[in-house]
Symmetry: C2
Subunit: 399 residues, 2 copies
């Protein structure tokens, strides 16, 4: 009697596996700046709670498996602001963006099939693929050019007769890259040429700076029957714990297939759905304030990181992450060092080693991801501690 | 570009596919008694909402992937009342019992593997198995003996080298059967003999009548490393839309494997978790009142069904379902008839055809499932309409 092969293959979360070291540090009285996870520090807008209360039911009953119709209608309006034309019957409300990814992979690929992924990528893609017996095939992006989408040849050489789709996030977690139209056209072209589905993870849509804008794959009308958009309210409304995401497609077969999955799991949480209807009434002011706040934070981190000799990175234009190649061999070892051996006035900083965001073995070993989810003052201190810690780490390891 | 084979194989919900006929009937002004789905009509206890409010956070953040520790501690206490000894680190809080089933199947079986299932079974097992590329192999139970667990030989003859587990629910959805110790020992023996996991779905634990008690598979200490209990608060607290379930195991490997799945999807909805902590403070009075209410309803349905000539069924002792074999050839056709062609004073009754609860082709075609989720007065009227409708149906079809 053994556990399944697929559960052995499923990777442990690269972020969560370092948590025990953090817990140990806290026990010893250290203060940790957590720049390792994408949990925003901004309060959830109060309208979320107002709507929860306003719609308190007699019975917390099953909702429609695609989500409450008023919620899907509210999403339709929300997407229209980005010139994304989707109707309520093209949307399935999911248990977070996570479930939307799971649904997307399930409906496009069978066990043994392959999905191309822009690497480094959101680490949990690997977990979902393993559960489903799907092989992720990486297409590399690189810190030297700010992790931009590579040329078409890099995709084509990775495609086999088992390749079913391409998955990526834009703005990108973990790199913060925002892809322009020309880059996205490469993906659209590949999809068209090789008849692949495109799973576009757009959960950081609003998080773009320096005049950049996130372009949805929905806007490529020549591949509209091939596109599945994966989305989530978690980041934009600081409501990660609501677990509300969306699965969107104009392909009726794909929609119907995903609806069977949605029906089997019955529905997303009712209260969270009502709260989200409230969030979707927020106006541009909310988004522009949030964007401004994160842009200023990005500037702080970018500025502080300049002080590191030998660090390789470009200014990222989106999400709330920055990935950096450091002059070290093993960033996981460095993260452990920061938690167990280093402190400045009782404080230290935790970041995510980037190797867990790669599927190619022994890759990303020099890279880290910083999530700028703290206010500026703390952020400046956190990155300064990281920078001085790195210096000490390199000195000690070179001894 | 095609959808995956597994999504083609995934069955549409047998309950939901008849919904369009019901919608049409409602549009025409018919009143429908819905006895087709397991959505209780009893209000969710107000303590659910009190706890939601009491624990309103600043940020609706990710919780622990296994669920909030206070919630798991509350579950530990709840289970102790049934002499089920489980610790918080043996529990994973899931998005409803649905996700617990999905996790259980994923960690015990790979694509192409087999899981034995007591048939008829909770229809969504088939959906989850299809998504995961797992084959469900049925072990039949029969209306003639009240759908009891068959003898060991019936299991053994279905076991191959790819068989990994047995799944069943007790009390049983859809049949209402409650299995006694001797019957459950058959399953424990088979698991022991053939080294199989046992996935025990115990979501109707409190719904037992006539002095019957639901015995947890956790109480079979000789197979404690083989047991995964799947549970849900949906039915017992009339909180289906909260989407809170549990995955429970004493097998550390299985727990760790399931935790990787839990981490990939991050966490269950925070608000629902807090509400559930409230529900778990309810005392025996709540459960005994609920049990009494459902027992009286069961009696009403049982009594009314006696009037049907040629119906085959035994008095069920649990859940809130009764499955009945009717003197007809196609119960799906009969359900459609009730919705489209029949009414009494503008009213009709909707039940679930049982064929969708079987994986064996062309089986259960004469059977239906009745969910007694209405108060007695309405229930009596609903079943009377069903009975008279059946008479008319048989007359017309025999013409």
């Amino acid at each position: 009697m053994r556990i399944s092969e697929r559960s052995k293959k499923a990777p442990a979360s690269p972020i969560r596996k370092l948590v025990p070291f953090a817990e140990e540090a806290v026990k010893k009285g250290k203060k940790i700046y957590y720049l390792n996870i994408g949990q925003p520090d901004i309060p959830t807008p109060s309208i979320y709670f107002q709507y929860e209360e306003k719609h308190r039911p007699q019975i917390v009953a099953y909702t429609h498996s695609a989500g409450l119709l008023p919620l899907r209608e509210a999403f339709t309006k929300y997407y229209a602001r980005f010139d994304i034309d989707v109707f309520p019957d093209e949307i399935i409300v999911t248990n977070g963006g996570s479930e939307a990814v799971l649904f997307a992979m399930t409906v496009v690929a069978d066990p043994g099939d392959e999905i191309l992924v822009l690497e480094p990528f959101y680490a949990n893609y690997a977990g979902f693929a393993a559960q489903l017996g799907i092989n992720l095939v990486p297409v590399r992006t690189r810190p030297e050019d700010g992790y931009q989408i590579p040329k078409m040849g890099d995709f084509l050489e990775k495609i086999s007769h088992r390749t079913k789709a391409i998955i990526f996030s834009n703005p990108c977690n973990p790199t913060g890259a925002v892809y322009d139209e020309k880059q996205l056209e490469v993906i659209a072209e590949v999809a068209l040429k090789r008849d692949l589905f495109v799973i576009s993870d757009e959960v950081y849509r609003e998080f773009t700076f320096d005049g950049f804008r996130a372009i949805s794959m929905m806007s490529f009308s020549n591949i509209s029957d091939k596109v599945i958009v994966v989305d989530s309210i978690s980041k934009r409304y600081s409501a990660c714990g609501a677990r509300i995401g969306t699965f969107i497609t104009k392909n009726k077969d794909i929609y119907q297939a995903a609806m069977k999955l949605a029906q089997a799991r019955l529905c997303p949480a009712m209260t969270s759905q009502y709260g989200t209807i409230g969030l979707l009434t927020l106006d541009d002011l909310y988004y522009s304030q949030m964007r401004k706040e994160y842009e200023m934070r990005r500037d702080v981190v970018y500025e502080e990181l300049q002080r590191i000799d030998g660090a390789v990175f470009k200014k990222p234009h989106g999400a709330f992450y920055i990935s950096v190649k450091l002059p070290i061999d093993n960033s996981e070892d460095f993260v452990k060092f920061m938690l167990t051996e280093y402190e400045v006035e009782g404080k230290t900083t935790m970041v995510a080693p980037l190797s867990g965001f790669y599927v190619t073995p022994s890759t990303g070993m020099s890279e880290i991801r910083i999530a700028y989810v703290l206010e500026r003052e703390q952020l400046r201190d956190a990155v300064a501690i990281l920078t001085s810690g790195l210096k000490t780490y390199i000195e000690r390891r070179n001894k």
